[in-house]
């Protein structure tokens, strides 16, 4: 028969285990994985927005490589990465590649449908000129 003290300790131990389980279920695990594989996307958009002479081909090379790496490891590219690549390809004069990336942004993120369709129509018009 256990003493009241050890019963209390046991009850506290069970309480703690249960409360930590609740914490885990609430999404408070110690190192949750990000939803997306961000890579260099944030830095790339910062450099683009900063302006100055920037060769779009360099950004294209880096981000296309990043995309391939994400896909190979089964991780998701973040919202906007395909969109940014579309813009870079357009700046580099490749409207077809731009349109392809917009299709992929739309496929991954249907919330973008209205905007990506509008942009695709614009790029097609540009391409036809």
């Amino acid at each position: 028969m256990s003493s009241s003290r050890s019963r209390t300790a046991f009850a506290l131990g069970k309480s703690l285990a249960l409360s930590l389980s609740i914490a885990a279920l609430a999404g408070c695990a110690s190192t949750p994985q990000p939803l997306y594989d961000w890579g260099n996307y944030i830095g790339a958009t910062y450099l683009y927005l900063k302006g100055g002479d920037q060769d779009p081909l360099r950004g294209i090379e880096q981000l296309e490589a990043q995309l391939q790496k994400s896909e190979a490891s089964g991780r998701l590219p973040p919202p906007g990465l395909h969109g940014h690549l579309a813009l870079l390809h357009s700046k580099a004069g490749n409207e077809q590649a731009a349109i392809a990336h917009l299709h992929r942004e739309r496929a991954r993120f249907p919330e973008s449908a209205a905007y990506t369709e509008f942009l695709i129509a614009n790029f097609k018009r540009k391409d036809a000129q």
């Binding site: 069970k14 249960l18 609740i22 408070c28 961000w38 260099n40 958009t45 906007g80």
Partner: protein, 237 residues
């Protein structure tokens, strides 16, 4: 503050005991003190945002009230991640920037004045984030300098024109010294900082990342409620 999890759940018998309610109270207290819970934040009313439940957020170029021109790219580029990781679709900011300019909207301030229904028409966004940068750049002291970023933000529902969330946050390079930030915030911020070392000499850029995270990220005291794409959606209160 980090939360850690160890050990299996207890058996069903424990849940039926009279001490079960004490256990639940202890759990909620643990979560609240640990900063992990999305309940118990009396100071932040997220009900308007939860009711509106936007799936997509248009991040507009931030208005810059600091003397540093790099504040706009520095903050604009950092706002996407905390919102996306909170479960919202965020429109590609460089494309948004081009579209605004192509439509004659040349400055961030002008973009903040565009009629909400027009933004809804062009982008199809459910909501838009309006940020003002109050401070960005180095504060020079006698022997050193600190990079400081302060920003205010609000989210407007583009279907109604109503403001559904407001927040403000700040960060300083002084806090990072000798400290590693734990948890998801640390992972994401370190990832951002690592990628740009060598390419960027703007010390305020990573600080803007910390401030953006504090401003927006679901689960932080100021941040938004989790969006539709969040991994473990929270029940509406």
């Amino acid at each position: 503050m980090k939360c850690s999890t160890k050990g299996p759940a207890t058996s069903g018998a424990a849940l039926q005991s009279p001490s079960a309610w004490r256990t639940v109270a202890l759990a909620l207290a643990t979560l609240t003190l640990g900063g992990c819970a999305s309940t118990g934040r009396e100071s932040k009313d997220l009900s308007a945002l939860i009711t509106a439940r936007p799936a997509s957020i248009l991040v507009l170029p931030p208005v810059n009230e600091s003397p540093e021109v790099l504040a706009v790219p520095g903050v604009f580029s950092q706002l996407t991640m905390p919102l996306a990781e909170s479960g919202y679709y965020v429109f590609p900011i460089t494309l948004v920037d081009e579209t605004l300019k192509a439509n004659g909207v040349q400055t961030p301030a002008e973009s903040h004045r565009v009629e909400y229904s027009k933004l809804r028409d062009i982008f199809g966004a459910d909501a838009a984030l309006y940020v003002s940068i109050k401070q960005y750049g180095s504060i020079y002291r006698v022997v050193s300098s600190d990079a400081v970023v302060v920003m205010h933000g609000e989210i407007k529902d583009l279907r109604t024109g109503e403001t559904i969330w407001r927040g403000k946050a700040s960060a300083s390079s002084a806090e990072q010294q000798g400290q590693t930030q734990g948890g998801l915030a640390g992972l994401l911020i370190r990832a951002v900082v690592e990628q740009i070392i060598g390419a960027v000499s703007d010390r305020s850029f990573p600080v803007a990342g910390v401030a953006s995270h504090r401003l927006l990220k679901a689960g932080t005291p100021e941040g938004v409620a989790p969006g539709p794409r969040a991994r473990a959606p929270v029940e509406a209160r």
